[in-house]
Structures are given as structure tokens and as C-alpha cells.
């Protein structure tokens, strides 16, 4: 919502573009290898990942511009690696605000200062703040440069027929209605997914107590870019407030509503202004400020049981809704997009069997369940659901005034990338050579002129300590790393150690005394899995 007199797209700092529908005479019905429904940040990331691997897609969206309001603002390191891989990273680095730490306060006194893991070996910082409009704009700029992606704005999915060999989508734009056949469909159509409803699928999970208003304000405010959490502050007795800095002097304020406080009243402009004024007083901001946008939100942990239904694969909010405390909503969706993107590209080009796609749900739904576990802990701390949780939360915060161990209970633990160690395509770990474990995201290492992650090939990469054997595979780049070199030392690895890295930088397998033939056999088994 925006202040009276301003429309949904009338932002203080962002100019929304307008996208035309396809021309009346544009061809529309040629069968597409992939149709992506929804050009939100997740659908756009999937389109870029497919294009990076040489695959064409049609990307449709019902709207004529980007999502309104700044929504998701905290983008994690792993997502920056995704943006890097799809060639969209440069403007993000220029615009966003990196951060590494947070502070929590209880009744005005600091009880916790936490840092997220970060070192000179990391190419990217643990977290970056940037408004979702810019995320969408910069992804779109990359898409506009990409001839393999055909985008159709103002094009709404109205019906879908899915069978074993593909789907037929009924689409409508200002010039009419038509059927578009597609071999594969990526449903990136958000939390209220039309595709999900039309296939009769339901999200399952639970809703949490506690509703928050999220408000963006513009102000000149001198405070570093960190996560600030205020528990039981003077401005909201018994409630919780979160404050994040964004680019363009925009600040995100999330504040919890009291039990029994009516939503309709809480989101009136007058009440939002009064609540924001109280928070700003509390943090010592006395200068002027402008209200940019606000919304209301409550925490849910909801997901589909299976992210794939025949030719239809769900990615992003259509597949799962996670509480924002973990800042995983969008980050999780971008990882979905990359995961299905490279796998589908291999299947489409005939370089992998369809069975490879069976690893998508266990990997990405597993990641979502992991987010649920962490976010549920966070949600219970931020918004205790009952007498018992509330009393113990206050006991922990009160103890934390003097005892750091108790403050750790307030640590939001926002940054543990998920490990695919249970995935059907991850090699069992036979007591590896050190370094990143099978399933984990490869840890980065600073090399003289860049980072290890910069050395990765477009598909799989074999990192080999010492002189690498002559080993060729069309999807494999072999990178020999010197024994006693930076990586060997960082990972404590002896000559002959090897790691097979996937296109999404996760470790497919690692071997202490690597046998080239065994690695090739493993890779071929991974690719040729038959459905």
C-alpha cells in the first residue's frame, strides 16, 4: 500500500517500466521447449539459467511491469553466486549494501551482537540489501540482452492441460486467447499460483502466530547496514521490531501487531505513520521521513509435497512459502530456479536422462524443510505463540543482558546453505580428502587473481590437487590445482584428491585417491539416470 494520493507504482525512488503485450501479428502458438509462467525474480532467474546453457524458453507474465513494493530485500551470498553464474551480477554489486552482522536489543539494551561467517576467501559477503524492484530490473536487463528468452508481458495463463509428454497452456493477452504447447512448464507464478490451483495441488504446513506490518520509509539516518532487532521496545511493549537499511536512503521497518489488534486498523495510513513515528523515536531518529510503501504479513511454513507433476515443475513461492525472518523466501526460490535450470537444460539437449529431474524435489524440498526448521525457531523467538514460549523467550532475553550464552538463543542463524547430502545424485562420502563435503556448496578460496569459483566450467568441474590425469568428458572442465597450493592448504588436501563440482557449485562427490575412470563412471551414472 502507498500513502493517499499515490498509486501502487508511484514510488519515491523507483520508476516502474511499462511493458507492451506481444504485437497483434506476433507468432504465438509455435510449440515451446519450456514455458515459464511468471516473470517474478524466480521465473527470470530460471530463464537466465536455461539460456546460459543454450536452451530456449518462453517467459510469460500477466502484468505489464514489475512487482509493486520492495518486498524481499535481503539477498544471501549463495544467491549472488547464482547471479554471477547467469551473468547478471554487476549492477547488483554496484547498487546493493553488503552486511555481515546484527544486533539485538531487549527493552533498549543490547543483548546480542552476531556475525555471519565471512572471510577474505569469500568472493561475496554473507548478505546484501537491495529492494526487490532493483532485483527484478537487473534480472530483466540481463533477459533483454538474451535472444534465447522470449518474454510475453500482459499474458495470463488461464488454463493448463498436463500430460505425460508435455502440456498445453491456454494464454490470454489483450489481442486474444490462444493455446501454446510446451514440453516443460516451470510454474513460477508466486504464492497464489494459478498453475498449482489448476492442477488441484495444495500447499501443506502451518501458520504461525504473529502478524507484522512491513513499512519502507525514506530518511537520512546514520546507522550501519546491519540487522537490528528490538525485543519488547518502548515503542511496542511486548512486541518485536526489525530494522534494515536499503539503498537510496530507504529503511525497512517490520513491527509486530499486538494480539487482538485489528489488521484493518493497523494498516490504515494514519496508524502506520503513528507506529513508524514511535519506532523512529525509539532509535533516536528525529529528522524528517517519508512513507514509501507498506504491507502486512504473517509467518507460514507451507510447501507442496512434490515439486514436480509430470511436465510441470514448481519453483519459488508457488512451491513454498517461508517466514521472512529467515530471509529465505526469495533466496530459496532462486536456488530452485538454478537447480531445475541446469538439470532441465541437460535433459532438453539430450545429455542427461529425465531421471536427473527426480533429484529436484528431494534437493529443493529438503532445502525448504531445513528453512522451515530454522525459520520456525526464529518465528517462535520473534513472536512467541503461547504463554510458555513467551515466558522462556523473555527469560532468555533477560539473562542475555549479562550472559552472552543466553543471547545466542536470539541469533537468527540466517546463513547456513543447505547440503544435498541425501540427494540421489550425491556420491556417498567415503571419508573424503577434506574440503567441502559431498552435497555441500563449494567453499570459495581466494587465489592470486580472483577466486576458485571463477574457475568453474559451465557444467561440471573437476578440481584435482596435483597434476591432473588426461581425462575428457563433454560436460567436464578439469582444473588442476598445485599440491601445496592455496586450495590444497585451505582444504588440507593431499595430491590426488578430487572434487566434482556441479553447475550450481554444490559438490557432487569427493575422493581422496581419485580414480579418473571411477569419477567418469559416477558422472555418467548421474547423467544417464532413467526415469
Amino acid at each position: 500500500m502507498r500513502p493517499a494520493g499515490r498509486s501502487e507504482l508511484d514510488s519515491l525512488y523507483f520508476t516502474y517500466p511499462h511493458f507492451d503485450a506481444p504485437a497483434p501479428d506476433a507468432p504465438r502458438t509455435d510449440p515451446a521447449p519450456v514455458v515459464i509462467v511468471g516473470a517474478g525474480p524466480v521465473g527470470m532467474t530460471a530463464a537466465l539459467e536455461l539460456a546460459r546453457h543454450g536452451q530456449r524458453c518462453v517467459l510469460i507474465d500477466a502484468k505489464d511491469t514489475f512487482n509493486d513494493g520492495s518486498r524481499a530485500i535481503c539477498i544471501a551470498r549463495a544467491s549472488y553466486h547464482i547471479l554471477d553464474r547467469v551473468g547478471a551480477i554487476a549492477p547488483f554489486l554496484e547498487k546493493s549494501l553488503p552486511w555481515t552482522m546484527g544486533r539485538s536489543f531487549y527493552r533498549g539494551r543490547q543483548v546480542l551482537e552476531f556475525s555471519m561467517p565471512d572471510s577474505p576467501n569469500d568472493k561475496y559477503r554473507p548478505m546484501y540489501n537491495i529492494e526487490q524492484q532493483y532485483i527484478e530490473q537487473y534480472l530483466w536487463d540481463a533477459i533483454a540482452r538474451e535472444p534465447l528468452i522470449e518474454t510475453r508481458w500482459q499474458t495470463r495463463l488461464e488454463a493448463i492441460e498436463a500430460g505425460a509428454g508435455g502440456a498445453v497452456l491456454t494464454l490470454a493477452d489483450p489481442h486474444g486467447r490462444y493455446d501454446l504447447p510446451a514440453r516443460w512448464v516451470l510454474a513460477a507464478d508466486g504464492a497464489r499460483s494459478t498453475v498449482r490451483q489448476m492442477l488441484g495441488l495444495r500447499l501443506r504446513g502451518r501458520n504461525f502466530e504473529g502478524r507484522y506490518v512491513i513499512a519502507d520509509v525514506r530518511m537520512q539516518h546514520d546507522y550501519p547496514t546491519i540487522r537490528r532487532a528490538l525485543f519488547d521496545p518502548a515503542c511496542r511493549p511486548g512486541g518485536t521490531v526489525l530494522i534494515h537499511r536499503q539503498p537510496d536512503d530507504i529503511w525497512r521497518i517490520d513491527y509486530q501487531l499486538r494480539d487482538g489488534e485489528s489488521e484493518a486498523e493497523a494498516i490504515s495510513e494514519e496508524n502506520v505513520r503513528a507506529s513508524v513515528t514511535a519506532v523512529l523515536e525509539d532509535i533516536g531518529h528525529s529528522g524528517p521521513w517519508d512513507l514509501e510503501w507498506w504491507s502486512i504479513y504473517s509467518a507460514n511454513t507451507l510447501a507442496l509435497d512434490d515439486y514436480r507433476h509430470g511436465p510441470v515443475v514448481f519453483i519459488g513461492d508457488s512451491a513454498h512459502i517461508v517466514p521472512i525472518f529467515g530471509v529465505r523466501g526469495l533466496n530459496n526460490g532462486m536456488a530452485d530456479a538454478q537447480n531445475i535450470g541446469w538439470k532441465l537444460a541437460l535433459v532438453l539437449s539430450g545429455q542427461a536422462g529425465e531421471g536427473l529431474l527426480d533429484s529436484y524435489t528431494p534437493e529443493r524440498r529438503g532445502a525448504t524443510l531445513d528453512v522451515f526448521a530454522n525459520a520456525s525457531k526464529s518465528a517462535r523467538f520473534m513472536t512467541p505463540p503461547s504463554f510458555g514460549w513467551s515466558l522462556m523467550r523473555d527469560a532468555a532475553l533477560s539473562l542475555a543482558l549479562h550472559h552472552p550464552w543466553a543471547g545466542e538463543l536470539a541469533n537468527p542463524r540466517q546463513m547456513a546453505p543447505y547440503t544435498y547430502d541425501q540427494s540421489p545424485i550425491t556420491a556417498p562420502d567415503a571419508g573424503g580428502p577434506g574440503g567441502p563435503k559431498p552435497g555441500a556448496m563449494m567453499s570459495d578460496v581466494a587465489l592470486g587473481d580472483g577466486f576458485l569459483s571463477d574457475q568453474m566450467g559451465p557444467w561440471f568441474t573437476l578440481l584435482w590437487i596435483g597434476e591432473a590425469p588426461a581425462l575428457t568428458h563433454p560436460l567436464l572442465k578439469v582444473v588442476a590445482l598445485p599440491a601445496e597450493g592455496t586450495v590444497a592448504r585451505a582444504w588440507g588436501a593431499a595430491p590426488g584428491s578430487a572434487w566434482l563440482i556441479r553447475p550450481d557449485l554444490h559438490v557432487a562427490g569427493r575422493w581422496a585417491k581419485a580414480e579418473p575412470a571411477a569419477i567418469l563412471a559416477f558422472l555418467d551414472a548421474l547423467l544417464e539416470r532413467r526415469a
Partner: protein, 63 residues
């Protein structure tokens, strides 16, 4: 050896000073801090279960 009587008296003294309203929060802090000091999660949990007995909420016979 813990001098239980001294502990008992000190708890009563604190509870009287703090009053009924602050008592639950005080006792919750005590439980958490003592559990932490004990350094043995299993024992701490067993003590919690033990202390939850005989307080009115009847255990579910189906469990």
C-alpha cells in the same frame, strides 16, 4: 554438596522480594541458568520432567 536449605531460603527470599507478577519470569531464568551451569542436557531434562509431576495437569493416559 549443595546446601539445599540455603538455596530454599534464598529462593523464598527472592520470590517475596520480587512478588507474584515477576515470579514466573524469575523462576524461568533460574531454571535456564541452572540448567546451563549443570552442563548436562540429559540430566537437566530429567529434572524438568521430575519437577513437572504432581502439579495438576494430569499426564495423558494414552501416552
Amino acid at each position: 554438596m549443595t546446601d539445599t536449605e540455603t538455596l530454599y531460603e534464598a529462593l523464598a527470599g527472592h520470590l517475596d522480594t520480587l512478588g507474584q507478577d515477576a515470579a514466573p519470569l524469575f523462576l524461568a531464568k533460574v531454571a535456564l541458568a541452572m540448567g546451563h551451569a549443570l552442563g548436562d542436557t540429559g540430566r537437566a531434562l530429567a529434572i524438568l520432567d521430575d519437577c513437572a509431576q504432581d502439579l495438576g495437569a494430569q499426564p495423558d493416559p494414552a501416552q
